[in-house]
Symmetry: C2
Subunit: 322 residues, 2 copies
């Protein structure tokens, strides 16, 4: 593979045009140089996406690139960090120029949208795999973690759940939906939108946060473990995407991954201000439950389901067979 | 793969013990938080190593981890940056605990040696592949690039060349050497030592620098292109490793990769101070040529070989057949 010429054509030249004011030295040397503003801390995350593990191999190169950056930016959002720069390591079986062209288009579409600059990385021959390390900034100690939830805090999710998992089930031909629902769900799977519009709200009001990559039950579990608290959530308040409601597949909203909405907790004292601020921004948020002393329970009408003993309690509930 | 329990056992717990004073929040959340000293710029690099592409699949997990971190730290050294933190993305075919144990031992041996802290990343199922993003610090604008070489600068390499390429040829059974030479060369391939001992010297005296990952001729070529200059180097001054000299395989020193010595240029005015400083540190440096206006020439006794037209000129010279 003539690594250098392909990188130059599809990455380096575009990257030079898109240097932001944090990039002192961009792509093309042994390393890049970043200016970190004096009052800011750096927030760093890294996620790898592998063909047939994290996305179906037939996913378009444009979508693969878009999603690879989106899931990393989502981790920054969950910390209430403002995206700043990223590095890319792209491994692919052959120097396929049409792949590179579509991939770089998807990558830069996402980078422009999330306002994050590519500053370096490498391209090499190997099984299709994309590693991205993304970094953002927060004003000192003004970040949000998984460990800040307190008893009495209300639990919120930032949008509808389950569409991405449903999209995967459709692609795997486990489920048939209408064309419109199929488009919506497959799009949710392939083009997740990290909630960069929530960063300021999270910074001001969230006591804890996590992005929903593994599914609501598991990811809320991470907050509970880190914060050493319990939770009660209400099935009827969980915003399952329309396809799930129609087809009785509610568990996809509980355990389906890849939604990249933000799950966060807010102290009682901050609730009114959160709701006012969200209203001003035109953002719809969903209060789904409350942090309690211990235990992990899903209320469903007159039933009370123990989530603490694991996902297994959810299997067989409705038609969940993933 | 029970990702969480393995990461906890072999990475997270050790990482928590090794937090350095730059780590405000380490592994275990959606992202880590880094304190960047106010007068420092951040130097960022990322390299992926893939089984059977960057290392033979039979390489020990300990060595794979060591080398993966070493090659990234070498990029920081080439910029004269002091290593600070890194993120790891490890993909492997199965949750093999003995692999993880040896891999993490090699990784932390290297991290301790190079004084760099693991702060995050992920582990997933997939073909064996290691992506590392490493970051370091430099005092503002006190970094070294490929583009600073000027006419009249002397060209240096920091140590013997060719042993790693010879090690690969031995593993591939293309060459037979003595046991002692075999050990030396295979070790050079599998356990490269990034020249962290050169960082201060480079910062003070180098006008340009690059680490020798692709081979002397190609990597010096990068400096010449970036700096828009030419070079004359002298075959008799190039420190080829002993095995090459004995077996007439000198081209391995010219085009063999993976040595991770530093190639750098120094202005005439700084030469005396460089030599004094290197002497005080007990470091042996090798002056191999000079930056000129244009052209790229290797002097060999009475011959003058044009390197500008590509590596092809070197094929057939001695016994080069890689």
């Amino acid at each position: 593979m003539r690594e250098f010429s392909l990188i130059e054509k599809y990455f380096s030249s575009q990257t030079r045009q898109r240097k932001n004011n944090h990039t002192a030295l961009g792509i093309g040397d042994d390393a890049a140089i970043i200016n970190v503003p004096a009052d800011q801390q750096l927030v760093v995350t890294m996620d790898t996406l592998i063909a047939n593990v994290h996305f179906p191999a037939e996913t378009s190169p444009h979508d693969i690139a878009y999603k690879s950056l989106a899931v990393n930016v989502s981790d920054l959002v969950a910390m209430a960090a403002t995206p700043a720069y990223f590095l890319l390591s792209l491994s692919m079986p052959a120097a396929d120029e049409s792949f590179m062209k579509a991939f770089s288009a998807g990558l830069f579409e996402a980078a422009d949208k999330f306002n994050i600059a590519l500053v370096g990385g490498d391209t090499c021959k190997g099984p299709l795999s994309i590693s991205i390390q993304a970094s953002g900034f927060v004003t000192e100690n003004n970040y949000v973690t998984r460990s800040g939830a307190s008893i009495g805090d209300k639990i919120f999710v930032s949008g509808q759940l389950g569409a991405a998992a449903l999209g995967l089930a459709i692609i795997q031909q486990k489920i048939n939906l209408t064309d419109a629902q199929t488009t919506h769900c497959v799009n949710a799977l392939n083009r997740p939108e990290p909630r960069v519009d929530l960063i300021d709200l999270l910074k001001k009001f969230a006591s804890s946060a996590i992005d929903l990559s593994d599914g609501l039950v598991g990811d809320l579990g991470h907050i509970l473990t880190s914060s050493d608290v319990g939770a009660v959530i209400d099935r009827n308040k969980i915003p399952a995407c329309l396809g799930l409601q129609v087809h009785g597949l509610f568990e996809y909203a509980l355990t389906g991954g890849d939604d990249y909405q933000i799950l966060f907790t807010v102290a009682d004292d901050d609730l009114t201000n959160l709701i006012i601020a969200a209203g001003q921004l035109g953002l719809e948020l969903f209060e789904i439950g409350e942090i309690v002393d211990q235990g992990y329970v899903l209320l469903d009408q007159d039933k009370s389901i123990d989530l603490a003993i694991g996902y297994s309690t959810l299997r067989g509930f409705d038609h969940f067979d993933a």
